[in-house]
């Protein structure tokens, strides 16, 4: 069975990225073994690279890959079963699902009801008994189809380190018998939170590299969006999944305006809004509206709603800051973190002026380590170690006409910022300010 569609390496690469996770998920269920699933799917793609340019791309590429991989796997298990009776059982089990790779109907069928398999695999990769770094690496590797060198480059760690991390995580899954299944209803909220945290971590790592010179690593963000879209397709009734996708899209929409000509960070207030991606904004707004109708707010939905208010404003001065402060209040009620407090302070400055906002920020600093009030649950000294705290203070002090104090705050922020683009932005701000001072450096 062949089609007349031209087959290029790029087309096969595209299919690989689209279908790798699906195929690995199906084969993991069939064989109960991640390594065997990955090996056989990679084998199947190697065969595809050889055959598709001659035979054409089959009508269901995913089905073809899955069937081919399964048959390879069964052959391999059978070879090994001569040495081990347990393998023989696995072979017999897998044999029941064997299909001939010329049966096109079956291939279509293969690609159909497999969505649950990917959902299972997501929960396996993001199991809380695995370290967060391992969760991220496994998700990108098994579901995203990224190679180990690609993941290592994206997270700026040596390839050997990343390879070891993945091998160790896979052997823990096997040795400790981390189950490949969707969690029970009782466990689902907690387990889903871990999955969403992993996806958001991947997105943010692509959006603001935590270190190094490249602020934007599009691939990771795009991959996180693709996986979140997939998860929403699998769990359409989970409002936080929808909220996370909306948050990612509305953040991604501003990406074209976020980096200046010299590679420096352009803050939201100074971004050229005509460069925002209107299509992503429209999709993001739709998702936020769907969440609002659902009325089961959660942290991701609220952050998405805040971003929806920002992206709703054609000009900076059209921003509904009052609405943003209200949304931050809601967010603080369920997720009282220093980052949320500081972002609320930024919005507060627009509604009640920089003086009130500065008072709020100083009150946060005072309240660290106490048991009530703003800043509760914050560890002592936590804010002073965050560059955002000093950045917010510096900006408020600048607006209040206290340049000397502002300069000092900028210096602290620059010393703490790890991202080169953020440092450049802060240095520019500092330089503008020191120009106003007769004797400042």
């Amino acid at each position: 069975m062949s089609t007349t569609k031209p087959v290029t390496d790029a087309r096969i690469g595209e299919i690989f990225r689209e279908e790798y996770g699906r195929a690995v998920a199906v084969l993991t269920r069939t064989f109960g073994d991640l390594d065997l699933a990955e090996d056989t799917v990679q084998d199947a793609f190697t065969i595809a690279v050889r055959r598709w340019p001659i035979d054409g791309v089959p009508p269901s590429p995913a089905g073809w890959i899955i069937t081919t991989a399964r048959n390879r796997g069964i052959d391999r298990i059978r070879r090994e079963s001569r040495r081990d009776s347990k393998h023989a059982e696995a072979a017999a089990l897998a044999e029941q699902t064997r299909t001939d790779d010329s049966e096109v109907d079956d291939e279509d069928h293969e690609a159909g009801p497999v969505t649950d398999d990917r959902l299972r695999l997501i929960f396996t990769c993001c199991h809380p008994a695995l370290a967060p770094t391992a969760q991220v690496a496994l998700t990108l590797r098994l579901l995203g189809g990224l190679s180990t060198p690609e993941i290592a480059r994206a997270f700026l760690v040596p390839e050997a380190t990343m390879a070891q991390r993945i091998v160790r995580a896979k052997s823990k899954i096997k040795g400790a018998r981390i189950p490949n299944r969707i969690p029970t209803d009782a466990d689902l909220p907690d387990r889903l939170r871990t999955v969403l945290a992993v996806l958001y971590l991947i997105f943010n790592e692509g959006y603001t590299a935590s270190s190094g010179d490249s602020l934007v690593r599009d691939d990771l963000s795009a991959e996180a969006i693709r996986l979140t879209r997939l998860l929403l397709g699998l769990m359409p009734d989970e409002p936080e999944v929808r909220g996370l996708l909306a948050l990612m899209l509305l953040t991604q929409a501003r990406r074209p305006a976020r980096i200046g000509a010299d590679g420096e960070l352009v803050p939201l207030a100074e971004q050229e809004r005509s460069r925002w991606d209107t299509e992503l904004i429209a999709t993001g707004h739709d998702l936020v509206l769907q969440c609002i109708r659902r009325n089961q707010p959660g942290p991701y939905q609220l952050q998405a709603a805040i971003n929806a208010v920002h992206t709703d404003a054609k000009r900076l001065e059209d921003t509904d800051w009052r609405q943003i402060v209200l949304l931050y209040d809601q967010l603080l009620a369920i997720s009282p973190t220093p980052m949320v407090e500081l972002n609320r302070a930024i919005a507060l400055a627009e509604v009640e002026g920089p003086e009130v906002a500065l008072g709020y920020v100083e009150a946060l600093r005072q309240a660290q380590g106490s048991t009530s009030g703003p800043g509760r649950r914050m560890e002592q000294g936590l804010l002073e170690r965050s560059h955002l705290f000093h950045t917010v203070r510096a900006d408020l002090l600048r607006r209040l006409g206290q340049p000397a104090e502002a300069l000092e705050a900028y210096d602290q922020a620059i010393a703490l910022a790890t991202n080169a683009a953020e440092q450049r932005f802060l240095q520019r701000r500092r330089a503008e300010l020191s120009g106003l001072l007769p004797n400042a450096g």
């Binding site: 347990k86 199991h127 008994a129 096997k174 040795g175 400790a176 018998r177 981390i178 189950p179 969690p183 466990d187």
Partner: protein, 117 residues
């Protein structure tokens, strides 16, 4: 089914809690042990005596050598353990979370090595 070792770690040198604290803890642990037995997952459970009661055996020139005390002195020591037989890690973790909350000390979950795996 697979076996998991649930190990309870106790801080060294701490004085044991008074009976009015320990009593209810042991009652809870007993109740949990009975529940594990009823569920068919309980294999074995025991508390261990102090590390100072331990004896280490090594070999020197083919002869066994005995040394008084634990193999390594640590800030925490293995105070007791439970072995469960369950289908997978999630089930082991469910029981382990309950045991940990009954005892209130750090608990490590570790699978037995599976020769077939």
């Amino acid at each position: 089914m697979a076996h998991y070792l649930l190990s309870i770690y106790q801080p060294s040198g701490a004085t044991p809690p008074p009976p009015e604290v320990l009593g209810p803890i042991m009652d809870n642990v007993d109740a949990l042990n009975k529940e594990m037995q009823a569920a068919g997952v309980w294999v074995y459970a025991a508390g261990l005596d102090y590390p100072s009661t331990a004896t280490v055996i090594t070999t020197e020139n083919g002869e066994p050598v005995l040394t008084d005390g634990p193999y390594v002195e640590l800030k925490e020591y293995l105070g007791g353990f439970t072995i469960v037989d369950v289908p997978d890690l999630d089930v082991a973790l469910d029981w382990a979370k309950r045991l940990q909350s009954a005892i209130g000390l750090p608990l490590e979950v570790r699978p037995f090595f599976d020769v077939h795996n």
